[in-house]
Amino acid sequence: IVNDSKGMALPGVSILEKGTNNGAVTDFDGNFTISVQKNATLIFSYLGFEPQEIKVIGRSNINVVLTEKLEGLDEIVVIGYGSQKRGDVNSSISSVKAEDLKDLKQISLDQMLQGKAAGVSVTSNSGAPGGAASIRIRGTTSLTGTNEPLYIIDGVPISGDATGKSTSGQPLVGKDGFSSTGGNGNNAVSPLSMINPNDIETIDILKDASATAIYGSRGANGVIIITTKSGKKSEGKIAYEGYTSIVSNYKDLNVMNLQQFAKNKTDLANLFGLETRDEFSHPELLGLGTDWQNEVYRTAIAKNHQLSFSGSKNGTNYYLSAGFLDQEGTIINSGLKRYTVRLNADSKVKKWLKVGANLTGGITNEKVTVNQSFTGLISNTLLQAPDIPVRNADGSFAGPPSSDQSVTYYNPVAEALTRDNKLIRKNFLGNVYAELSIIEGLKYRIEVSANTEFSKNEDFRPSYKWGSQENVTADLDTRNQNWYSTNIKNLLTYNKTIDKHSFTILLGQEANDSHWEGVVTSSSGFKTNENHTINLADVDNNTVTGYKGSASISSYFARLIYSFDNKYSLTASIRSDTSSKFDPTTDNQTGIFKAISGSWKLSNEPFMEGTKKYIDNIKFRIGYGETGNQQIENNRYTALLNTQNSGLGSGFLVSNSPNPNLTWESLNQTNGGIDFTLFDSRLSASFDIYDKTSEGFLFQVPLPDYLTGGGSQYGGISAPYSNLGTMQNKGYEFTLGYNLSTDSFSWNSSLNISHYSNKLVEIQDGLVLTQQVNTNGYQPVVVTNTIVGKPIGMFYGYVAEGIFNDLNELNNAPLQFGQPVGTGAGETYLGDVKYKDVSGDGVIDASDKTLIGSPHPDFTFGFTNNFKYKNFDLSLFLQGSYGNDVMNLTRRAGTKNSSLYENQLVEAANYWTPTNTNTDIPRPIADSANNNLLISSRYLEDGSYLRIQNLTLGYSIPQDVLEKFKMSRLRIYGSAQNLYTFTKYSGYDPEIGSFNQSPLLSGIDNGRYPSPRTFSIGVNVEF
């Protein structure tokens, strides 16, 4: 019987009598029979396991335990249009195996990469099921373009840009785009949430340009190559995994209850000289009021089932899977359902011909929650007054009783339960290929792939009357979009080894074509809330608009890999891309991207022979490469006319200033690295250092409004795009791995640490790159700035130096915003925030705004540990970030003390008074536009955290028990995701991410959907 180290039977192991052709294969239960000489030696070999030789010595019954191959130098790494052994790779490439991801109960694979690879920073932008993540490979590359990597899923290219900048630029959800000042909030949905993570076999992340240059134009942000599973064993395998999770927020913010609220509002009314409310005169007699967080957040349930069939027979491999996920969100009435199917098959039709296909389809059905917005549910939940009940006595939803109390918040329970905001996406993706072996070493491959998605968003807001807040007629907004892209590849690969020289030559051609279109409607005047299709709306209130476009890239490329004596290796590649984004009448369309890299395996030199016992491998790598970026809107090289309506009829206005000189944004990267493994490959380490410089950003010049009229949205002429500026990212990353394995115990561990420093090197004089977000009260405020010599997207505002406590000090302090000392409106007094005179001009004004904090971490890290003891397995995954700041606008909104009707955090009551001077909360002022609320260092918090991202304990039923049930594997496990976070951050969650993936709006908490904690139990079964 042949077993693995866990005691599981290994079917399909090939057994060969040494020196003969006499062989056999193990059956389903690992049994084998072979007739050999008594003194024969048997060789057992099996993919993924160390081969083993066993002397028969006359035995008739042999039990063999094969040990799994340590992942290492022989591992195959996908390098883009080909693959290479890990030991031969000259560039910086990280690989993540299915094994490392299997315990992570995340919806989409982008989130699963968090902390798993050095140099890859992943932050979830929202805790909503299906929300997009931001992935930055080695810092930020582009200033206003997308910074998301290119994904290649079984050869099909997919942009990680959830905002579709280079295609339609239209959101899948919501009315007013991805604007940070609009009411849609964080509405980018992950382009990868359609892919079932369970189908993934390996993920290879190409990080440096010497590796990505073969992807030319689209390689600037790194490339993530995803390979899905294929059939392996000769016997068919049926695998099932199912789990159920309990999902909940692990933290509530401490907002006032009704008693605290009543006291606070009475105190404030007295302070402001306004009427107090009679019903609040005895707070102690009141109840606790409505706990809105308790009403809105819930403990949600997630269910996942995944069934797959795989196998291999007569040269045909197949893998068929179906998956179902039903995940409720922690906010009532939010959630996501996903249905996926996949079929991967390949077959050797002839000795010289292999054909195959990878096909997948997915449907998601999502209930969307508006978050990171002043109109979002999270803001509503925190600021809604506790004196308002959820429902009236008659069961209808309640609201503020009189219109004076009608602040801009709505009953969040009513909003969540009655607003019907759905997104349905249907995605089909696949490729077919044929591979011909023409002569020994020469292969031709043709691959055709396509990807399409149909999406439909319906946002229905019923008519309602919640107290004094009323929506008279229901409104419906819909977005129907579809896009498709096709990709064709012709690849010619030639392998040749002559003595110690070995070559691999690749010649290739690729063409990519994508098309998109959409219809957007807006209707109102529904007579009923029951059915709400467009035809039921008031015909006079139906509006329809649409959009359509296409883009293409045509490419040619070549690569040479040469190695000598397994010591020296050289890779050189060149690619030419021609993009439709640039003026077809010029030669700006074509970009040439070159790369070269080399490595030296010191350990293979004869003089290192003596050290082999300890150091089995040392390799030095160095590489340089050029990549590009062309992901901008279409036709920016020419001036376009856009429809603008008026009472005179529809007409056209110029929408943009043209720039026919537009061309590729370029990125050059130099990478140096060292890999070594010690002690029989037990300890492995890898260190990389890089310097990448992006130049000529495709950048919409932020011209002053007197030249653009504010841009085309309101009838102005948008500024031209231009190639401007230089940005540099320098960094290093370090991966350390350790493997220990004995008969009954194994431990493998991997630690990665990444650091980058980002700097804007130059940009046209006078360009202002400040970014605004909207805050409560419809007031957009500037929160970040990007200036030359500093990292991008830095927090920007005033420096707060405590609170004025002393009249002398106040009188001698620089005059603040032209406001004299005094207690009246528009005057500065004791209890106000003391701002620093940064410019030193003796007054506090806009010139004192400065960079006050950084969203960029000093380093991020991930630490994965897998233990196995007999039939138990345990994995522990820690992940975190150190040294970054968070701009906590949720706390700003919760400590404003300027309204008599919105709720506040409990700490807001600790405001400054002449008798309560030891506080950081200034005196209340009855105007939400007062200077104490300016964006300042007061709202910055340390965003460092260490998170126990996953803890999983599994138990596999012993083999002898399973055999009775004809099973090959049965494992049960319990898993905790996001188990505990060590942080000083006072908000829900220190992991904030970026607003709609914008690199200039990172780390801003404006009511972000918190990432929940998940406990799961599940089962793996294989037959």
């Binding site: 074509d513 509006t543 206005l653 010049v701 007197y706 009229g709 102005g716 957009p780």
Partner: protein, 506 residues
Amino acid sequence: CSDDFTNRPPEDAISLDAYYNTNDQVVSATNGMYSRTWFQLCNKFFWTLEVGSGNMYSGSPDVAGLRTFSLNGSDPELANGWASMWANVAQANALINFLESRVGPDVDQDVIDHAIGEAYFMRATAYFYLVRMWGPVPIIENNLDYSNDPYINTNPVSDIYTFIVNDYKAAIDKLESKIRGSNYGENGRVSKGSAKAMLAKVYLYQKDYPNARAMAEEVINSHEFKLLGGSELPSMSFGDLFLYKNNNNQESIFAIQWKGDGNYGSANNSNTQFGISSNTVSTSNATYGGVFGPSQDIFSLYDVADLRRHETIMIPGDTYPNINTSNGVGFTVPDEDNAQGSGGGIKKYCLGRVSDATGPVDAWGMMDNNTYIMRYAELLLIHAEAVLAGGPSTSDPAALSSFNAVRNRAGLPSMTSITFDDIFKERRLELCFEGDYWFDLGRLDKTDAIDIMSAQNRGNKNTEEYYTPVYSASDHAANDFYIDYPDNDVAKNPKLLEDPVPYTFN
């Protein structure tokens, strides 16, 4: 093959070079400049000026900065108002500079001329607002000249007025003549008469009385425009001016032509912003109303006999039998704080809840009723003031005829001799809440304006509040009669704060 493959002309927009081949296409070239380009001004900032002038009261922080004269360059609505005027300049420049060279051979010259005339009209009007709000601003005749070098100086106020006068003259030259009839659908576009009327006002601001009078009289004598409810149209009234069905009536000289199209920023927001706080009369789909209310000063302004009062402000007990409300047709103003604790509400431009009479409403509660930039009543008052020509008083029949036409329409008796103060007050009564009084105050001698403004009760019905504006002839930043340049643009071009540089006219 590859060349075609990577040539992707736009599929959902029109390339500038491929359009303008027919008369219809050229006619439509200016349509957007009658609405969208004005939205960011008219949405909120226009009314911010009414708060500043003391006509309106608001406590809403996005629009109330001028109530206490604390508005500064960081105000987002200020930046919106600024951008809106420059959107008009940019679009007008595109047509003035490039239209003629891009039209096809089948387009008639008079069609081209009229479109370019409209562009001159819009550019002049935009600069007229800019110079009155900000004083010195850059004169830009071709935006493309500055794409690579946006750091330009401002030009002096006098040069800007010269530029405006030139533009209106060019507009008068190119625009078509018109007589405004009862087919309102044909009255939407500006005409020679519109440009002359605007030019009369520009001359008046420059105290060039002879030219102002000449221009006004050309307009009057052309009989292009008529007062609704005046002697020529006795069946109509002042109140009819603000009904949706009367968009582009005979009195309309230039009005913004809103058309809700599902996008934010295409229709008139007044119906929600005005009215009263409870959503009884605000348009459907907005859960609020009365962002602006009348100032306390306004409640005592009107004579009992003045018919305009009931159509301008709502006072508790007032009835509006035709207005649709949440309780059905017919509205009696309740005795409450109403809008912003003012005690009443703004009636002008408030149409009430959506009904056949109001026209359609969009998702933001905005409607398609026009916003007046100038109407004939104002031209008559300009005429009277031009005849007075800076004198102490006049009983010139020309002045009295124009002046009394406006008064009589309002149900008030004729006067036999009028002073500047009479005309000034009449302008306020007539044009209240139409965005003009701030500019009227701005053209007064500053000590007089400061006296008027510091005497206004700028609080609400519960608290009296008084504020005094500051005027500095030399320091733009310390002058409450000029608005700060938006911070963002100053950061992009600090030269905006430098002394203006004379413009080189070519």
